[in-house]
């Protein structure tokens, strides 16, 4: 039986000094507070990174004015958005209109609660962590759907209908890719999945399942790009066609919630990718003792950040290189290509696992 309790020096200390219920509450509050801090910092960092990286892809400099290297630019942006009037067009559905921006960020927040950032750095470790992740990420879809519908705008409606069609279908192949790893690791707990990749770099699931792992990684990358609503698969925003899609009518803080959720979501997806395929917080080991010792000296949270950062960079690279797909091509790509391939890949992975054809 797997022990699911997360142990952390601070959490343990609290459990020692307080009776069980207050300890659980205090631990929960601490976890939420630190996650909120992480989300804020991540959002600021990613907004800055996106603007800088995008600028350099485009032979520009990006933000340079606010703070060193423009690092404080996202804060200036956030302040500007905060001070803007929170406009609501009269013909909108008030409940739906104000509820919608909260859902995507809640979804990505929930996903982050089960991500293991380090050996002992995880808010909760449910045995069915993968199922929880899939369920929580569905909230984001709901947000775009409700927002587009509640806006009472044809562009917004088109955008949200697109996002409904797109996200529901891409969820499938993304889940199938995750399922492959769950099957191979023999556990749906995210921490167990990471720990199942202990050993050298070749023990990461991307390499350990010959062929199937890498294919699953690529499929995950594509379908998570669609899940994230990022170019070239940002059909529901599609500025050039739908003038912003589901968030056409949003302004000020409500808009910035959508905006923030996009970046936090990106971090969550990258975190999932590195957890499932790249060994999560494990240091890369190459089998040479001296080098390995140095590598494992670096804390796991740094490795986790680097791996997620690599995936985030890939997302940015895709976005700032490719043109956008058309909606029917996008759905055809999923239903006619990605879904069959990921099913076949799952089958291949099952065969490999059953017959023990893994890399040694």
């Amino acid at each position: 039986m797997i022990d699911l309790t997360v142990t952390h020096p601070i959490g343990d200390r609290i459990r020692e000094v307080l009776p069980p219920l207050p300890a659980a509450l205090a631990n929960g509050a601490l976890a939420v507070a630190s996650l909120a801090l992480l989300v804020t910092v991540m959002a600021i960092l990613l907004v800055w990174l996106e603007r800088k990286v995008c600028a350099r892809f485009q032979a520009r400099l990006g933000p340079t004015r606010v703070g060193p290297f423009g690092l404080l630019q996202p804060i200036a942006d956030a302040l500007k958005l905060l001070m803007k009037e929170n406009l609501r067009p009269t013909a909108t559905d008030m409940v739906a209109y104000y509820l919608a921006p909260l859902l995507p960020i809640t979804g990505s927040f929930l996903v982050l609660t089960v991500i293991p950032f380090d050996h002992n750095l995880q808010v909760a470790n449910p045995g069915a962590g993968v199922v929880f992740v899939i369920a929580a990420s569905g909230l984001g879809i709901l947000g775009t759907l409700i927002g587009g519908w509640g806006s009472n705008n044809k562009y917004a409606l088109l955008g949200s209908m697109r996002s409904g069609a797109q996200l529901f279908s891409y969820e499938l192949s993304m889940v199938l890719c995750m399922l492959l790893v769950v099957m191979a690791a023999g556990s749906a707990s995210l921490r167990e999945i990471v720990l199942s990749q202990q050993g050298t770099v070749l023990d990461w699931w991307i390499f350990k399942l010959p062929g199937a792992g890498f294919a699953a990684f690529l499929l995950f990358l594509i379908s998570s790009t669609a899940e994230l609503n990022r170019g070239p698969l940002d059909l529901s925003e599609a500025e050039q066609e739908l003038t912003g899609g589901f968030h056409t009518e949003y302004a000020g803080m409500s808009f910035s919630m959508f905006f923030l959720a996009e970046f936090v979501n990106m971090f969550a997806a990258a975190a999932l990718g590195s957890t499932f395929f790249l060994g999560g917080f494990l240091a890369p080991q190459i089998g040479v003792h001296a080098v390995d010792a140095v590598l494992s000296f670096v804390p796991g949270v740094i490795w986790f950040g680097l791996k997620s950062g690599f995936l985030i960079f890939l997302y940015m690279w895709f976005r700032w290189t490719f043109p956008r797909l058309r909606i029917d091509h996008l759905l055809a790509l999923e239903w006619k290509f990605l879904l069959p391939v990921s099913m076949g890949n799952l089958l291949l992975g099952a065969t490999l696992v059953t017959f023990g054809l893994l890399l040694p």
Partner: protein, 391 residues
């Protein structure tokens, strides 16, 4: 544009907006709706308004609405002298302002029998071709952005800036040039003009390869453009399309080749022709045109003569009574200038035949049955300049 009110017309509350056909073209039970694209929309490039009749994402009908940037340039021309009128043509097709100027200058020269010195003709050809490349570079960037590749937009502008900087040195302006004058141009080229043109020519070869690597063969671009918005040769002719739009449909017509003006008959260049008339052919025709313009520039730079840049200036330009026509090939097609003179200092009537109105006309036919994204791609490859339509 009145709504027909035949007995079979639907109830008033279901009356269609102006310009739409009444018959229901969608399938049974379809829920068609109307969407205003523009005048403020990222992809209508300026102030074009398209009223789109949609069935879900599928475009049933498109009706363009014009006139948002009508400035009565032709009417204003009637109260200005011929030379003053030149600067207004800058503001029609602002990406081909040199070539527009050239069209008016040629009509004046034809009327007054003014010759242009050899060097002046070379300047005209080289500047026109630079302008064509400049315009196509901007189009390439805008096309990339319309398809969602924002990076392409920046690359297009980055390369265009080199030619814009050259124009800045040449005539002091970046967009509204007002450089050509009857009999030549208002100033000689700066000293380092030819070396800089050759530099741009060399860079263009590299740039075009880079552009091809980024967008031309990209499977997403191809899937977005191939077979989308096809315009047959016959329809292109009947709509009066010209320029790359017509040539992509296989209409072998280029004013530079088939009614040569200035000294275009002295240079070797090809007129690229497409077969399918779809967005991808229009894209490839423009990419090839840039290469051909580079070829012309190379030839012209190699034989650039010395001498005066302008024929002796007349104190006033007074056209003999009569009517005069000239046509030039701008980056978008045939630009004709028709001047009626009553012998006075100012034209009695000036009429411009601008390529963009005719090029926009087939959009309803091309976009019907496609998706919204196709409409954007079609609009982008038609490469219209709205101020040139409204004038």
């Amino acid at each position: 544009m009145n709504t027909p009110s035949s007995p079979s017309a639907p109830a008033p509350e279901h009356r269609l907006p102006p310009g739409f056909a009444l018959h229901a073209s969608g399938a049974d039970g379809s829920q068609e709706y109307f969407l205003n694209m523009g005048p403020q929309h990222p992809s209508t490039h300026g102030v074009l308004k398209l009223v789109v009749r949609l069935d879900g994402e599928t475009v049933v009908e498109v009706v363009p609405h014009l006139g948002f940037i009508h400035r009565a340039i032709e009417k204003m021309g009637e109260s200005e002298t011929y030379v003053q009128y030149l600067h207004l043509t800058d503001r029609m097709d602002y990406l081909s302002s040199h070539i527009n100027n050239l069209g008016v200058c040629m009509a004046i020269e034809k009327a007054m029998g003014i010759g242009v010195p050899e060097r002046g003709e070379y300047i005209r050809v080289m500047v026109s071709e630079l302008q064509r490349i400049q315009s196509h570079l901007l189009w390439w960037g805008a096309f990339g952005m319309d398809l969602g590749a924002v990076t392409a937009f920046l690359y297009g502008f980055k390369e265009r800036e080199k030619i814009t900087a050259l124009f800045e040195d040449l005539c002091g302006a970046r967009l509204t040039m007002n450089y050509f004058r009857p009999g030549g141009s208002n100033a000689d080229v700066p000293e380092n003009f030819i070396p800089r043109v050759l530099e741009i020519v060399e860079e263009m070869k590299f740039t075009l390869d880079e552009f091809n690597a980024l967008l031309s063969a990209n499977p997403i671009t191809i899937s977005r453009t191939q077979g989308v918005g096809a315009l047959s040769r016959e329809r292109a002719i009947s709509y009066g399309c010209s320029g790359p739009v017509a040539r992509a449909s296989g209409v072998n017509f280029d004013v530079r080749r088939h009614a040569p003006y200035s000294i275009y008959d002295r240079f070797e260049f090809d007129v690229p022709l497409g077969q399918n008339g779809d967005c991808y052919d229009r894209y490839r025709v423009r990419m090839e045109e840039m290469r051909q313009s580079v070829r012309i520039l190379e030839q012209a730079a190699a034989s650039f003569p010395e001498g005066p840049h302008r024929a002796k200036e007349k104190p006033v330009y007074k056209l003999p009574a009569g009517s005069y026509f000239s046509s030039v090939e701008t980056a978008r097609g045939m630009f004709g200038t028709y001047i009626v003179s009553d012998g006075g200092l100012k034209p009695y009537r000036i009429k411009s035949r601008s390529p963009n109105l005719s090029n926009l006309a087939p959009i309803a036919e091309m976009a019907a049955g496609g998706k919204i994204a196709d409409l954007v791609a079609i609009l982008s490859t038609l490469d219209i300049i709205v101020p040139d339509i409204d004038r």
